[in-house]
């Protein structure tokens, strides 16, 4: 929010001292008799096999690049992306089907699914219900995101003046990403989180990730915005926290530009060979303002991501990923 200094940046020492306690997501006593809470659910088959893939390394995931409310189009995209290590959905862009419906469509095609859930749009009981549904559908896991404030998310009808207006979606933020991660683990789901290492206070990002890991996160998708040296600085700092999460590096791709795809593929190959990296996440840069809303561009983007993944897998056969360095006990 413009004009507002982040309280956590202003008190960085406080951030290092934050801890995570499971009680933060336990239901109140009033719900004990009725059981009105997310139950503890055993880990499902899809979550288990995705966790194994992460341990093995050389993971290639893709963001679902389709912004459409057409179930047929979502299912077609899921079918084409089913060879990915996982398809990662996105949330809260205003033109999507519900998270559970999207997951149902994608999982029905045989795709491995990580469903994005943001804390911006739902309170905790709704989030608990979403997680129960995702576990019931049998997705591999969730991408637990705190979410952008409505005033900076660029949603249609939002303003940037720093407060909610009549036409702006109400930011909920009953929970945050660490607490959502803890709930998702209770539902037996694999939990991925995101982090931007360069966002201030950047020195605190590794310890913030360690906090998310203690809450239950098992993987971080890193929005790097830097080079291999920046990546090494970050993975080293992460390893030093003693709670090093496996890292997927997000690779943004302008799928409509062949030269840009070539550059992104070359970058992804470098990243896959970098120490401390478990894989890449291919993220198509889709024009959300596309007025047609038909998502035809989306299927085009899907095919570009599939071709990239095929090339990257061939690369991995020639140059196997480096062994993952386990954090010191």
């Amino acid at each position: 929010m413009p004009g507002l200094t982040c309280s956590f940046a202003a008190a960085a020492d406080h951030l290092r001292d934050l801890g995570f306690a499971p009680e933060l997501v336990s239901a109140p006593a009033s719900a004990r008799e009725s059981g009105d809470a997310l139950a503890t659910i055993p880990r499902g088959a899809a979550a288990t096999s995705f966790a194994e893939a992460v341990t093995t390394g050389g993971v290639i995931t893709a963001g679902l690049p389709v912004r459409s409310r057409d179930p047929g189009l979502i299912a077609e995209a899921g079918s084409r992306l089913s060879a990915m290590s996982a398809v990662v959905t996105s949330e809260g862009l205003g033109t999507t089907l519900s998270p559970s419906h999207t997951a149902l469509l994608l999982a029905g095609t045989g795709a491995t699914v990580l469903s994005a859930l943001t804390c911006r749009d739902r309170n905790r009981v709704a989030l608990e219900g979403e997680l129960a549904a995702l576990a019931d559908i049998g997705v591999a896991g969730v991408l637990a995101v705190t979410g952008d404030h409505s005033s900076s998310a660029g949603l249609p009808g939002t303003s940037r003046i720093g407060t909610t207006t009549a036409t702006m979606t109400e930011p909920v933020f009953d929970l945050d990403s660490p607490r959502l991660a803890a709930l998702a683990r209770r539902a037996g789901l694999f939990v991925a989180v995101v982090e931007r290492p360069a966002a201030p206070p950047s020195s605190c990002r590794p310890s913030r990730l360690a906090l998310k890991a203690s809450a239950g996160a098992e993987l971080v998708i890193v929005d790097l915005n830097g080079d291999l040296a920046d990546l090494a600085t970050f993975t080293d700092a992460l390893a030093a926290t003693g709670a090093a999460l496996p890292v997927l590096v997000s690779v943004p791709v302008v799928t409509t530009d062949a030269a840009a795809v070539h550059v992104a593929t070359a970058w992804a190959q470098l990243v896959l060979s970098a120490p401390g990296v478990s894989g890449v996440h291919l993220s198509a840069l889709v024009d959300d303002t596309d007025p047609t809303g038909l998502g035809t561009q989306g299927l085009g983007a899907v095919d570009v991501l599939v071709r990239m993944a095929t090339q990257l897998r061939e690369h991995l056969e020639r140059v196997p990923p480096p062994p993952r360095v386990e954090p010191a006990a």
């Binding site: 109140p28 139950a39 419906h101 129960a132 019931d136 003046i161 109400e170």
Partner: protein
């Protein structure tokens, strides 16, 4: 923050309403005019009622686009609609099919809604997918309590894509009622502002009204405003005896509301169900309902008999557009309760 920001346009929202509503009063006003979650008088009772609905950019009244919705419209043209609840247990996909099997052929659609002791539920779209897979027409409840407009719009879009018969757009009880007061109350939308968004997606849209909650005199006019906002059916909270229900319908008509009114018909087959029903906030039951139930040797048979009698009297009046039969169920007895619902629905002409 460097500069204080004043938000100019909005603030038709009542600042002191715990749900920050614009189009109150909601159904949670106690008989003594106090709020369901505060000891103070409902802020809307000091205002000129009803609050007139103001058209917004969002949404508009499209024709019903789902097949199930059109089928219900066709049924409604020849006879009153008969809807029931579906007593599947919260967050249990396995209890959907067996309860649906009992209801198939006896009901026109099932209403899946909210409960104070089950705030954590599968999201509306997933519940709709599970129920629609059984072949039943689903009328899905969506509350504004737990999701902001972004998440609500996604749920509504999925309900349209899944072919839901309709959507029941409710503001919802405050989180401080029920078993999860720890959850943050959202109320970005409310029933009246959700209705046009549902209609814009081609959904058949209903809303709730509580005839017995203050201000009783202006509740009919409030229905007229919700109709202007796009509402096509009005489901009422239990409001007492048949005469009370019909007096409410008359108030709606006097205020110019032409939407069909579908009163709730309570069905109770055991003591636990009765206790749950009595806990519904704005519920006012038929005179002597619980006494007669518990005096009966066969509570279940008496419950079915009372529901059929109440429903028949409503339908025979010719003033209502149908009924919604529902009530509380004892855990583990969901299928037997579905059988009772089916019996009542069939007696009232459902499924024909």
């Amino acid at each position: 923050m460097s500069t204080p920001v004043t938000s100019a346009p909005l603030l038709a929202r009542a600042p002191d309403c715990p749900k920050s509503m614009t189009y109150g009063p909601c159904g949670g006003v106690n008989p003594d005019d106090t709020c369901e979650v505060a000891p103070t008088t409902c802020v809307f009772l000091r205002r000129s009622l009803p609050v007139p609905w103001t058209p917004s950019a969002a949404g508009g009244g499209k024709d019903v686009a789902t097949r199930a919705g059109r089928e219900l419209q066709a049924i409604a043209r020849r006879r009153p609609l008969v809807l029931t609840g579906i007593p599947a247990r919260a967050m249990s996909s396995q209890t959907v099919a067996p309860t649906a099997a009992e209801l198939a052929g006896s009901v026109d659609a099932v209403l899946s809604g909210d409960a104070g002791r089950a705030r954590v539920q599968f999201p509306p779209s997933y519940r709709a997918a599970l129920i629609a897979a059984t072949g039943l027409r689903v009328w899905m409840g969506v509350t504004s309590r737990d999701r902001n407009r972004t998440a609500t719009d996604a749920e509504l879009a999925s309900l349209a894509a899944l072919g839901a018969a309709g959507v029941h757009c409710v503001t919802g009880d405050h989180t401080r009622t029920g078993d999860r007061p720890d959850a943050r109350p959202v109320f970005d939308l409310e029933s009246t502002t959700m209705l046009p968004r549902a209609r814009a997606l081609g959904l058949f849209a209903s809303f709730a009204e509580s005839p017995a909650a203050p201000d009783v005199a202006s509740r009919g006019a409030r229905v007229a405003q919700k109709q202007r906002a796009g509402g096509q059916l009005c489901f009422t909270q239990y409001a007492g005896d048949v005469d009370d229900e019909l007096a409410f319908v008359a108030r709606c008509r006097d205020a110019g509301a032409t939407v069909p009114v579908l009163p709730g018909v309570p069905l109770v087959v055991d003591r636990e169900g009765a206790e749950l029903l009595a806990s519904f906030h704005a519920a006012k039951l038929t005179t002597g309902f619980l006494d007669r139930l518990f005096a009966a040797r066969d509570v279940r048979a008496e419950g079915v008999r009372l529901a059929v009698a109440h429903g028949s009297a409503l339908l025979d009046s010719g003033e209502v557009g149908g009924v919604v039969v529902a009530g509380g169920v004892r855990r583990g007895h969901e299928v037997a309760y579905a059988t009772a619902l089916a019996t009542v629905a069939r007696e009232l002409g459902g499924g024909s």
